[in-house]
């Protein structure tokens, strides 16, 4: 079963807010100068910010903010966030891989940016609402 697609807009302001809230002040997430110096095309989103947005999609699908039992991803491609009003967009889809007898649902999640996968092996297990 395929779950409804969810999209998340990401701007530079979001990265600044996430840096402050998470304590991850790595300059590749706010300085084009430093990002390009280490070979990136420009400022990229924190991998953990992308993972947090995908986590929002997972809890929305589960229908409960406390339903996630296990959640893992591999970061495969950076999410480049241009310095403009639009920023970029992350599109999240998922399929139900398994529903267990003890009330757990396993999801295979796909997250893309500009048509390219930014995560692989993204999987979540959620407690199915009783």
């Amino acid at each position: 079963m395929e779950l409804p697609t969810q999209t998340f807009r990401v701007t530079r302001a979001d990265l600044v807010r996430y840096a402050g809230a998470s304590g991850d002040f790595n300059p590749i997430h706010w300085s084009d100068r430093i990002a390009t110096k280490v070979g990136l095309p420009g400022v990229i989103a924190h991998g953990m910010f992308t993972m947090a947005l995908v986590g929002r999609a997972v809890t929305a699908w589960a229908g409960a903010p406390d339903a996630v039992v296990e959640y893992g991803v591999r970061f495969t491609r950076p999410v480049v966030v241009p310095d403009d009003e639009e920023g970029t967009e992350i599109v999240v889809t998922a399929v139900v891989r398994e529903v267990t007898e003890d009330g757990l649902t396993r999801l295979d999640v796909t997250a893309t940016c500009l048509g390219e996968k930014v995560l692989s092996q993204a999987r979540a297990t959620v407690r199915t609402a009783a």
């Binding site: 998340f8 979001d14 807010r17 996430y18 402050g20 809230a21 998470s22 304590g23 991850d24 991998g47 953990m48 910010f49 993972m51 947090a52 947005l53 986590g55 929002r56 997972v58 809890t59 409960a64 903010p65 406390d66 996630v68 039992v69 296990e70 959640y71 893992g72 991803v73 591999r74 970061f75 092996q121």
Partner: protein, 148 residues
């Protein structure tokens, strides 16, 4: 400088307790756009059976990233942080983190491998309350890129 592979299996002493604040959870939830009332309103969280506001699933990284400095800054392990890329991240929850939790992290080096000139360091961080109740186990794999 290569990582010291003899660190596999080694655990570090528990970190200093981290007091999970209600406002910190609200701030983190707001930063990721998580608007569910259970992240913001203690009453909504209590209605779900939690003592206070519930943290979003990736919130534990606030603690574990700070805790990982124990390893990153251990000169004997030999991580060159300027060459580090985040590879994998995984959480296995016993229960969600809630405001009022007092949490400690225990870091263990689970695996070190080398491939294609790069090194891969997998750490497991057991997050538990100061009373010893397990809350969440967090795995993080970082890639230390080799000299080109």
């Amino acid at each position: 400088m290569p990582l010291d592979h003899s660190f596999v299996g080694r655990s570090y002493p528990p970190t200093a307790p981290y007091q999970v604040g209600r406002e910190k959870i609200r701030e983190f939830a707001t930063a990721i756009g998580a608007t569910d009332p259970a992240h913001h309103d203690p009453e909504a969280a209590r209605a779900l059976g939690h003592p206070d506001v519930v943290a979003p699933p990736t919130f534990p990284v606030v603690l574990t990233m700070a805790a990982s400095r124990q390893l990153i800054e251990d000169p004997a392990l030999g991580v060159d942080y300027s060459r580090v890329v985040h590879g994998d991240q995984r959480f296995a929850y016993t229960r969600p983190v809630v405001a009022g939790d007092e949490l400690v992290c225990v870091n263990t080096v689970e695996d070190i491998t080398s491939r294609g000139g790069h090194e891969f360091l997998t750490t497991r961080t057991d997050v538990r309350t100061t009373a010893g109740e397990p809350v969440v186990a967090v795995w993080s794999k970082i890639v230390v890129r080799g000299e080109a």
